[in-house]
Amino acid sequence: MACIRGERPVFSGVSFSLDPGGALALVGPNGAGKSSLLRILCGLLRPAGGTLAWDGAAVDEDWAAHRQRLHYVGHLDAVKPTLTVAENLDDWARFRGAARAAIDALQALGIENLADVPGRFLSAGQRRRLSLARLVATPAPLWLLDEPTVTLDAESAARVATMIAAHRADGGMVIVATHGEIALDGANRLDLGVHGVPADMLLADQEAKPEDDAW
């Protein structure tokens, strides 16, 4: 698989597979393409080359079904400031076709006492926990997490690790972009740094880098 962002090749020759219960840690320096790869995997970005397959069938044939199989937690938390925590979570569950969010979703992240608090009063860490609660609110076999613990305290990060372990024990799969803050037992590592384009090409196009970091 290969990726080009704004005429700059980010990575190429990336290839991996994941079994039920498996985990993959995406590592690499800033701008190596960890976030871009996650966005390709959920269909928000088109790869410049290569294929994405699920159970041997190319995902290109049915993106609607693929979107139902995955949860994506990116850098943006999708929390509306004027809706309460419970309303925010419920909306996202319903937009995925569920009747309502699972009740234990807020407990799993330790924010059940915030259920009636409007989103604008949440701290960055609390917003992230609400965003992660979507994972539990509706089930999906594949979790795509982009530096999920970056704003979290140690206790919440441990909760996330527990969630991921439980998800994998149920046969779920996790792909995490990380700088090593989160413990994943027996996870495969995919170092995007080694698939990157030569360093002199990166230096030639420095102004394009901040945008890539942002995604």
């Binding site: 959920c42 269909g43 928000l44 970005l45 088109r46 609607a64 979107r67 139902q68 995955l70 994506y72 990116g74 850098h75 943006l76 938390d77 999708a78 929390v79 509306k80 004027t82 809706l83 309303e87 909306d91 996202w92 319903r94 937009f95 995925r96 076709g97």
Partner: protein, 222 residues
């Protein structure tokens, strides 16, 4: 899918109603803009009733423009747009749901306020009825065309000025046929042709607007 669609419309309405003055601003602007005309041209009733259809429609058009820039920007900034794209509802229907909510909070209040303001400009009763009908047919077109402009400019920092430039030329036909219908009623020369063209335009906009806006949003998110 219908349930999800209605839920999204409901969510957008809740956000608009809790989102402070933004929604109210459209109608207030409309009222102020129309009341400026009698002050500007003087209290001569014959002249006022002659310019009334055009004045009300132009004010409605500009008021509808005001609220467009927030249509997708907030969702784009807080990541909701990405999550909506990953949901079960096709992006075209997401756009349509947001546009319906936008019309309910801007176009519909304009159509309700318009007859009162037109009275201020000495419009005849026949004209008032057709004015409301033409606005009910025309303002959804304004929202739908506006959604395309808003989707194209969602990633830009100073998008709102660009929206006006992109969208106003496309508003011209709506203005012409909307005013034409009201004048037809006032002068008693028939309104059906103009209203039919507005209705046809609405059908076309419902089909094409969401398609174009969704394509523009996909480009932006990449």
């Amino acid at each position: 899918m219908v349930g999800v669609f209605l839920r999204l419309v409901g969510r957008e309405l809740t956000l608009a109603l809790r989102g402070s003055i933004g929604t109210l601003m459209t109608v207030v602007f409309f009222v102020i803009a129309v009341t400026l005309f009698p002050l500007g041209v003087g209290p001569e009733l014959g002249l006022l009733s002659r310019i009334a259809p055009g004045a009300v429609w132009v004010a409605a058009l500009l008021a509808a423009l005001l609220s467009l820039d927030r249509l997708f920007v907030a969702d784009h900034e807080d990541g909701s747009l990405e999550q909506l794209m990953l949901g079960t509802l096709p992006l075209e229907l997401v756009v349509l749901a947001k546009t319906v909510a936008h019309w309910l909070t801007t176009g519909l209040p304009l159509a309700v306020a318009a007859p009162v303001l037109a009275l201020l400009l000495n419009m005849s009763v026949d004209g008032l009825v057709i004015l409301v009908v033409s606005l009910l047919l025309g303002t959804p077109i304004l929202s739908l065309i506006g959604a395309v402009g808003a989707a194209l400019t969602v990633g830009l920092r100073r998008g709102s000025a660009l929206i006006a430039l992109l969208v106003l030329p496309l508003y011209v036909p709506v203005l012409i046929f909307g005013v034409g219908a009201v004048e037809g009623a006032v002068l008693d020369v028939g309104v059906h042709a103009n209203l039919s063209i507005l209705a046809g335009g609405l059908v076309g906009a419902v089909v094409l607007g969401p398609l174009a806006a969704a394509a523009a949003l996909r480009m932006t998110v990449e």
